[in-house]
Structure formats: C-alpha cells, structure tokens
Symmetry: D2
Subunit: 157 residues, 4 copies
C-alpha cells in the first residue's frame, strides 16, 4: 500500500469544540448530525434514524445519506487546513448499497490526497442497528462515496 | 443528436396528484421541495432558499442540493414505470458549480436511458433570483448531476 | 435555462492545427481519436470501431470509451484557456448505456462551468452506424459523462 | 467496520488461467495489463509505463488509467459470479490524484457490495517506481475510483 498521508496542521482545539455537538440550524441540525471522532484526515459523524426521515415505504430517504456525505466532505477538512482557510465541496459521487430502516447512520470520511487547493476524500456510510438479546450491534455498509473539497486560502491582510 | 427516448408509460393522473404539493414529512418536506412540471422522462422540482438552510457563512448547504438531486432521481421515474413498480436511487455524481445565497433552487431531471431495470438521468440545478427594478429574474447553473435509478417491478400475484 | 457560458479566449489557429489529425503515439493514436468540430467550449471527437478494439464477445471494450472521455476532457479546454496554460483531467464519472459493436464512436464535450482554476464539462458519447439500403445512419447515445479539468496557468517569467 | 463480504463462488481455475497473461488484442493488450493477484472479491492488475503511453509533456495519458479502471471493474467479477454469467461495467467515477511519468501502474479492485444483479467496486491505483541505490521501491496513490458492474446471468436452456 501507498504511504499514508501526513498533514501539516491538526487543530485539536477546533475538533474539541465540535465533537458531540448538534448544530442549531440547517440540514445538519435537521438530521441531527454529530461528529464523534476526529483525527488528522479522518472524521466519523452520523445521525439517528427517526420516523421523521423515513419515506412512506419505511426507508430512510437517500437524500439524508447524500446530505451527510456532503456535510462530512467539508467538516473533515477544517482541522487540517491552514488557519483561516475554508473548504467547499466541489463534487462527489455516491453509491447507495442497501436500504436503511432504523438505528444509526454513520459516515467515516478519510482524506486520501491533499494539495494546496484540492483534497480527495473517500467515505463509507454504515448503518448500526442495536442487537437483541445476546447479539451485539450489527454494522452494515450502506453507502460508499468519493469526492473533492476545494480549499480556499485566507485573504492576505 | 441521438433520437430522444420514447416511453411506454406516462401516468398523467399521478403527476397531477403530485404537482405543486409539498410533502408532510421527511427531508423533502423540510426543504419544501415541490414539483412544478412533469412530462414523460422529465421533471422540474425545486425549493425556496430560506434562512433556515443557509450555513453560518451565508451559503446554502451543499447537502440541500444533494438531497434535491437524490429526490428528483426517484420522482422523475414514477410516471414512466409500469404500474406498481418503484424506483430507488442507486448512485449519482454531482458537481457543485457556484454558491447559492438566496432565491429559488430548481432541478430539471431528464431520463437519458431506460431499460427494464435501470434508468440513467441527468440533472441541472439552477438558482433563480428575482430581478430588481427593470431587470428580469436571473438564472444561474449551480450544479450538474448524473445518476442511476433502479426499477423494482411489482411482485406477481 | 441558464445563460450559456461566454469565453474570454478562443484560439482558432490551435483548433485548425488539431482538426482532423490523428496523433502519432499514445492511447489516442492507438484508438485513432480525431477531433472533427471545435467551437468555444465545445468539441466533437471520435474514432472508428475496428476489430482490434473489440473484446472476445464482440463488444467495444468500455475502456476505449473511458479513454475517449478522458481525452476530450483535456482537449476541449485548450482553445479557451489563457495562452500557455495547460489542463489536466481531475475527475470524471461515466455511465455506459449500451454496447457498441461497429461503426463510429463520437464524443461531444461541452464546458458548462469555468473559473480560473476549474472547468466542469459534460460529455455525450454516441455510436453512429451507417445505414443500409435507403435508411440513413443511426445515432445512439452509448455513454454520458461529467468531469472536471484543472487549469494550470503558465509560470510567470 | 462492517463485516467483509462473503462470496458464494470463487473460480480458482479461471484465475489461474488469467494470472500473468497479457491479452492478444484490445486496449488491455495495447497497455499490457496483466493480473497479478486474485482472491474472492479482490484483484490486482497493472501495466508498465512505456514511452508509447506518455503524452508530449511526458505524463501518462489519464485515459490509460481510466481504461485500467474500466478493465478491472469487469475482471474482478468473473471468479465470483455464477458459472456462465458475464459482467459489464455500468458506471464508474475516477479521481486522478498525481501525474505518472515512469514505473508501473497497479490497480487494486475490491468488491464492496454484491447482489444478484449489481456489484459495487472500489479501486486504488498506485504508481510503483523502482528505488535507486539503497532505497526501496516507492508506491504512490495516483487515482481512486468507484464503480458498478452489472451481472448478466446465463440464459436457461
């Protein structure tokens, strides 16, 4: 395998402010997306599947998973960019693999390439359903995605 | 240019029930997605950009556009499938082209290929901002997408 | 519809050098890719399907269509970039719609968005099979693609 | 992590016939693509970068990497499908991460989801350049891709 990426920056303080916090407005707040793990170039974030986000036939609307993917494509970038930069999702591709009807949806985003301007990120989305009786929770891969974030450097003073 | 597709089915009655109606729950209801035009293989649907869906820096969250794309990938299929079938978004790819800060976001979905099992659809997403004074509304292309819907035939009795 | 793009540059002389010419080496020469039309932001280029590029089951190898898409993503950029710039395909997505067994494969690439750094391009690939008897040639859409080219500006002296 | 996939079939004899063999015609033969490792749901295949496939500016034409991706999307399927089935690449997305100028290009394809009809596959493409003096070979990730193969079952007699 190729060497893992190394990152010049990692803003631990920023990640501590964000971890475990639900947004107050916007589509991420609507879905209840919360980041639960950060390391340099990697983010885990997800939401609980409530009745509100199921379609009439009882499945999670794919748009919720798409929005989660778009969201983590940006958030995974913040700790590893030069201070004052911001990141915008430029493009992504998603394959939806299996229907989700309950439990938790969790995306793991990993930066696989990063230059001054662009980063490429791969994302795995899992559905975690609590076990019953003696059995443990079950994790299933429900989507995979791959996308690009553009890094916008801070304006010089 | 290649010949346009022709479609065996077109369920006009279904489109009339859906046109102009906002959903009651789910991510499409949250965004306020409403279908405004249907023809065989083509759908126009969009939502108004409210303060609720803007990020802290004042832009529409890309996840809202992604969710709109996922939504139209399914809805465009219903009028042209055999009665009783249902459609699931299998995969799509989106390029986000420009930030959106106000106005209306409108997706035009066009089926470009359709077999018994799979349809390929292209989508253009425009931002429409009302004109001021003498100038008319301004339309700008803000995203393009391309994806696949899987058609699930009804079970035989 | 959104306004069409306008382009600051269009290097007609460059297009005249390239039109109708087959490369001397490389995958484009192997396939016999030739550009047949250029206008600002638009390119038509294709190749003849020979026995050499068919698989054992008699279909054109999808890799030939993928390579054509990658190729036009770069070539469509040259006439519209600032002199001395070069373009690299950054990413693309392709849907293969129908098998090809003979005739000509032709890609039409259209730039749909262009900034200083990035351009987004949509591509339609058609298969053109000569008619028999009284019938004219038949065109069929066999692939659609969407991708990004990165523009690298010339170094300042 | 989600459980790894398990596969009903694995045609070891087929892999032994294919391993290490260069095709006799077609784009895979032109590039010199050779499969070097097979296991259930996984394939490693690549080619040597020769002067023939470099562009005028000395880089490997991206179309060669795209064609490799398209090729492995099909080949990875054969050992794990029911006997007599065939697989066709339906769609894929590729991000090109870094230029390649020499050495070997190697794709590792991994099936991440498989149903009766469709399989989703992720691919990492590395460039391996021989070391000089005391240093070992260097591997660099040069492309990542994600795509779908459609499985066509054998006709019943």
């Amino acid at each position: 395998m190729a060497d893992p990426l190394s990152f010049e920056h990692f803003d631990q303080a920023w990640t501590e402010k964000v971890l475990g916090k639900r947004g107050r407005k916007g589509i991420d707040a609507y879905l209840g997306i919360v980041a639960t793990e950060f390391s340099a170039g990697r983010l885990v974030a997800g939401f609980e599947v409530t009745d509100e986000v199921l379609t009439m036939i009882g499945n999670l609307h794919g748009g919720c998973i798409s929005a989660l993917v778009d969201h983590v494509l940006g958030v995974v970038m913040y700790p590893v960019m030069a201070p004052g930069s911001w990141a915008a999702t430029t493009e992504f591709k998603i394959n939806l693999l299996a229907p989700v009807t309950s439990g938790r949806v969790e995306a793991t985003a990993q930066i696989v390439s990063m230059s001054k301007r662009l980063a490429v990120i791969r994302i795995e989305v899992e559905n975690i359903v609590a076990g019953q009786g003696d059995s443990g929770a079950r994790r299933r891969l429900v989507a995979v995605a791959q996308g690009t974030s553009t890094i916008v450097a801070p304006r010089e003073a």
